[in-house]
Amino acid sequence: MRFLHPVIVVAISIGAAALAAVIGNDYYLRIAFMMCVYYLCAAGMNVLVGYAGQKSLGQAGLFAAGAYGAALLSTSFDLNAWVALVAAAAIAGLCGVLIAWPSLRVRGPYLAMVTLAFGIVVEKLVSEWTEVFGGAQGIYGIKPLELAGVPFANLQWVWFGIALGAITHLLLRNLLSGRFGRAFLSLQADEIAAESVGVSVYRYKILAFVIAAVTCGIAGAMVAQQNQYLNSDFISFQLSIFILLLVLFGGSGSLYGPLIGAISLTLIDALLARWPAVQHFAYGGLLLFALYAMPNGVAGLFSRFFTKRSVIEPVPATQKQPTTAPIQRNEDRSRPLLDVTSVSKNFGGVRPANDVTFRLQHGHVHALIGPNGAGKSTMINMISGVLTPSSGRIAFLGSEIGGLESHGICRRGIGRTFQNLRLFAGLSVLENVLLGQHCRMKNGFWVSLLALPQARREEAAANARATAILDTLGLRELAQAPAGSLPYGLQRRVELARALATEPQLLLLDEPAAGLNPQETAELGKLIVAISKLGVTILMVEHHMDLVMSISDHVIVLDYGIKIAEGAPSVVQCDKRVIEAYLGAEAA
């Protein structure tokens, strides 16, 4: 079964190649070639737009990097065309890093502006710097690809395009169907949550930009080599828009969307080429209305007919006891698990943490309580790397983690949930939990891209673990439901499952019982105790005092960023300052 898909792809490719051979008409071959070129652009762009959720309006700049790279290498440096093609892909990839770098810091419309500006800079550069890029005059005599000394004819170009397209499809499918695809999707859904499960937002954003850049660069290089001529008219803002439209019209986030987009839009382009005014108008209409009528593109339209809506099962009544130990490491249990030493945090004049010191012991359930605004969530955020402490030390298993990035902290063994749920709402429950396994999976980029045995093994193991965790939390039946569609209480449980899947030694729960009814709260209490019995240390922020007092071994009380008491629940309950903080001084 595993080879069914590749076999079908190869069969279709051979069919398309044979069809091209039968047609033989240069005009049609040219259209077929452009379909392949645009497919390449769209396939990479889909990773960036559809999976990682980053809009780029400057893709023409990367197309140009590939096209001019190949052109100049073969004319000025007299490089072999095949070498030039590979080098062009590398140059475009480097430009991808260049454009990704500012994009790491900016979002939304600012990101659109950065990519747009990049596209414009490249466009102006190739049209104004005529000494190097030839401007509107262009570069002549670009070497075409050749085999055994014979340059490619139109038919060979189409064959080459089809082969490259098929390979790109298969490789991207390998990559996107597993760990990397989920990580990209998590970026799109929620960057902070992605970091919290160990996905490095930086790395994956850059990777998505580079993938889009490389395929676009190859496409550009192919166009330059096939035409054997290139001028600045090829590179325009319209091209950037067209590449984005290919993905959005075809269906972003779908593996087949780019193919549909490339074929249909190239056809429309060719059909309307005789009437430029109509062509222009049609593009405007497509941009304006296509997304309105088909938010998920043509591919989304199809899949609506073919997939049945999954029905959400009723809440399972009973929970089994946890059976799988999330993680067992042989650590030195004599040392404290987490050592927070005089940690402070300033936001301007506000100090939600002021010289706070406490220790967490292995296997205990610790609670962090205090009135609203006491700095509890700030403390959780500092421990999990969302915030950086202004001063002080946070040591986990003896090593400093204050100021590390969230994904690194997750990898070291600290999992967390959020006060206001941060699930990947569009992904299924199972995918959410699998993302928790992200940082424990060892298959790297190349292994995943080529679908080597290690990638399959890791994927199967992660699946087994995720399913076991779902089983434990009574979510098995809901595995395929979109996480965002579940009722609130279940979403809380899915988030807990996701945090457990990161195999934490320390689990941070930020108000796990918020919004739960008394019965659900009691169930949660049992669950937390069960989890701690497996050797997972717990630090929870909670307002339900009966829950806190009944299950915790140790309570830390904060008020206005200052630790005012700590100790066993019974001791803290009687502490004068704690009563004052909660009820006011007079009442005490």
Partner: protein
């Protein structure tokens, strides 16, 4: 040398006025609806042509008739300005309902594409009516260059600058002092809460798009006598206005205005040195500013609560 520098500063401030108006337009829609009109440039160029068309109509001349040497009364010019502002504003309202409202508030920024699509359609219609050629437009305040301390300034440049300053000061007053301005700022802050306070959120958003587009129309009308009316110049003008807004910080209207002027000056000064590197330098600067200050130089940093 000094004269050339002053000359560059003068024309930079004039064109900066146009950028500032456009930047302000971006800021208005962004703060109220969290969306931007990516076809703002087409609104600018269409604005120029609507102004010219009104002139043709009042003069009883056919479309595309040359306007060089024609004398126009101040009332005719004023009429053209008002019609331009209102018509482009109404096109902006149309844009809101067709391209923005269906997508605003939804993830995925589909409005980027839909507003670009709207702009392409608008330009196509414009090309069908006015054709692709450039039209030289006479200035309402005359075309005789004024010499101040050896620096030649066109009256239109002074007009551009003065109108931009006046309009922006007036808008600033409206936003800060009137109940309408407060309603707009309330919607910008939080739509749900604003609507709970009895503010008609849709009306405010429609108003925002009307205002923003009207400003684009006004800057198109004012810049036409300087740069001549063309359907192709809009994109580059609007991109620079956008850059000005981004540098200043989209969320800060005053910052946007400053950003617009700063960009005009910068462009003009780079022009002094190397004309063809003008745009490259400007956009590289934008990328650099954003890489260092992701919310612009004067924009508010939004901290997401976790």
């Amino acid at each position: 040398m000094l004269i050339a520098l002053l000359q560059a500063v003068a024309s930079g401030l004039a064109v900066g006025g146009a950028y500032a108006l456009i930047a302000l337009g971006f800021s208005i829609t962004f703060t109220t609806t969290k969306t931007l009109n990516f076809s703002h440039g087409d609104f600018v160029s269409v604005g120029s042509f609507i102004g010219v068309t009104v002139l043709w109509l009042v003069l009883g001349k056919p479309i595309n008739a040359p306007l060089v040497g024609v004398t126009l009364s101040i009332w005719q010019q004023l009429l053209a300005a008002v019609v331009t502002v209102v018509v482009v504003g109404l096109i902006g309202v149309m844009l809101y309902f067709l391209a923005v409202k269906p997508f605003s508030g939804k993830p995925g920024m589909s409005w980027v594409m839909s507003t670009i699509g709207f702009g392409i359609i608008l330009t196509s219609i414009g090309l069908a009516i006015w054709g692709p050629s450039q039209i030289v437009v006479p200035s309402p305040v005359g075309d005789d260059v004024i010499r101040i301390a050896g620096v030649g300034i066109r009256p239109q440049e002074i007009l551009m600058f003065v109108v931009a300053i006046v309009v922006m000061a007036a808008l600033d007053w409206v936003m800060q002092r009137t109940i309408m301005g407060k309603a707009m700022r309330a919607v910008a802050h939080d739509q749900r809460v604003a609507s709970l306070m009895g503010i008609n959120v849709t009306a405010v958003m429609v108003g925002a798009f009307f205002l923003s587009s009207a400003l684009a129309g006004l800057s198109g009308f004012l810049i036409a006598p300087i740069a001549s009316a063309s359907l192709y110049v809009g994109l580059s003008i609007a991109l620079k206005g956008f850059s000005g807004a981004i540098i200043g910080g989209l969320s800060n209207p005053r910052g946007c205005v400053l950003g617009g002027f700063a960009l005009g000056l910068l462009e003009s000064l780079v022009n002094l040195w190397q004309a063809q590197w003008r745009e490259i330098v400007v956009f590289l600067l934008v990328i650099l500013v954003l890489a260092v200050r992701p919310h612009g130089l004067l924009g508010l940093r939004t901290v997401e609560k976790v």
